[in-house]
Symmetry: C2
Subunit: 199 residues, 2 copies
DNA sequence: AAAGTATGTTGACATTGTTAAGATTTGTGT
DNA sequence: ACACAAATCTTAACAATGTCAACATACTTT
């Protein structure tokens, strides 16, 4: 019933869907979004040009699936930050640094994740749910910081947005080449994030 | 020697270069970046498919020129904020609100301006200079706020980056559909920016 | 007016996203 | 086991796009 990755080449290809997502993500990270073509993905996966259409409605749907894997990884980084943080504030700082670090390490993927073309037209409900996980974790983190500081909890919404904005803004500015960590006496995007959040 | 816009149709077309930029910006704002093709721009300008190549090296160069007009407008909004602000802090708040408002009103253009593809490979020096004007204005603004608060001026760099990050982050989150002003009891992106900056 | 340059057009090519039609493999009911 | 439907994959084809080459026309300079 479920796919059996052990049994080599169980079906025509095994599980092409995941192979296409993986191939697409590789091309994306190696060559950028504009070099990512459906045909190129199929080529790397070793199948015909139109094979992907049996697993994805169109190119945008494949992109959404690739972006979804990015959101899963981003949520993983967030969970790690919350686990390793010594205090609510420390958790929040680690969250921000991890967020920016992720963006700097996967610029094309990060841009795709927040490209905005994936949320409007089509379905992508599953994609949107995955995308909201990191945000919910941030929200919990901010709520704890407010509680620890004795601040009213009705500030949670707007403070969460503030925190998200500042780390997301820094991440995009670095990715797009508008800000270089070296200009701020920092050796990495993560360092710059920590420095900025510490002000 | 110089072009004479008065004399109607002075040359073959008058000044195709600016017409192409204008046509491109229209298509960009009406239909989005993925619908913006060189051929489409040429079509709207009423010229042949390859006419743009006599004014722009390639599509990316045209996009850079379009983005440059966006940075000019953004700098105009910034200047207006600095002129109308009653105090350094008020200037800074108006700058942020204007920044987000501009992004919300020109989402596709704003995304293009910060797409990051325009700064790496090619020349685009003129484009980069124009792009840095808004940033310099923000820097002056932040410096005045610090001075008014008696804070040390060596914080200017990092504080400017913080301010830029938070408004830029909010702008992109709104543009990409990750944040809706209505979810924060705001009627516009500008209002949400003001609300957030006031915390 | 001649020559040269700037600007514009037509034609062509490779690449891309996508659809249509057909072939092959897998699962299902008997 | 076997026929049949569903899933999966392939080839062929189409329109659209970015770009180049070759050619034509308009303007400038002398």
């Amino acid at each position: 019933m479920a796919k059996s990755p052990n049994e080599s080449r169980a079906y025509h290809h095994g599980n092409l869907k995941e192979a296409l997502i993986e191939a697409g993500r590789q091309i994306l990270e190696e060559e950028g979004l504009d070099k990512l073509s459906l045909r190129g993905v199929a080529r790397r996966a070793g199948v015909s040009q139109t094979a992907p259409y049996h697993h994805f409605k169109d190119k945008e749907t494949l992109l959404a699936a690739i972006a979804q894997t990015g959101f899963q990884d981003l949520a993983g980084a967030a969970r790690k930050a919350l686990k390793e943080g010594k205090s609510p504030q420390d958790q929040l700082d680690r969250y921000g640094a991890g967020y920016v670090e992720f963006a700097a390490k996967h610029p094309a993927l990060f841009n795709l994740m927040f490209s905005g073309q994936l949320s409007s037209d089509k379905d992508h409900t599953e994609f949107l749910e995955t995308a909201s996980v990191s945000f919910e974790l941030l929200r919990q983190c901010v709520a704890q910081v407010l509680e620890a500081n004795g601040a009213p909890p009705n500030l949670t919404d707007i403070r969460t947005l503030s925190s998200w904005s500042i780390v997301h803004g820094l991440a995009t500015l670095i990715i797009d080449g508008r800000v270089a960590p070296e200009d701020y006496a920092c050796t990495s995007a993560k360092d710059l994030a920590a420095k900025m959040l510490g002000c």
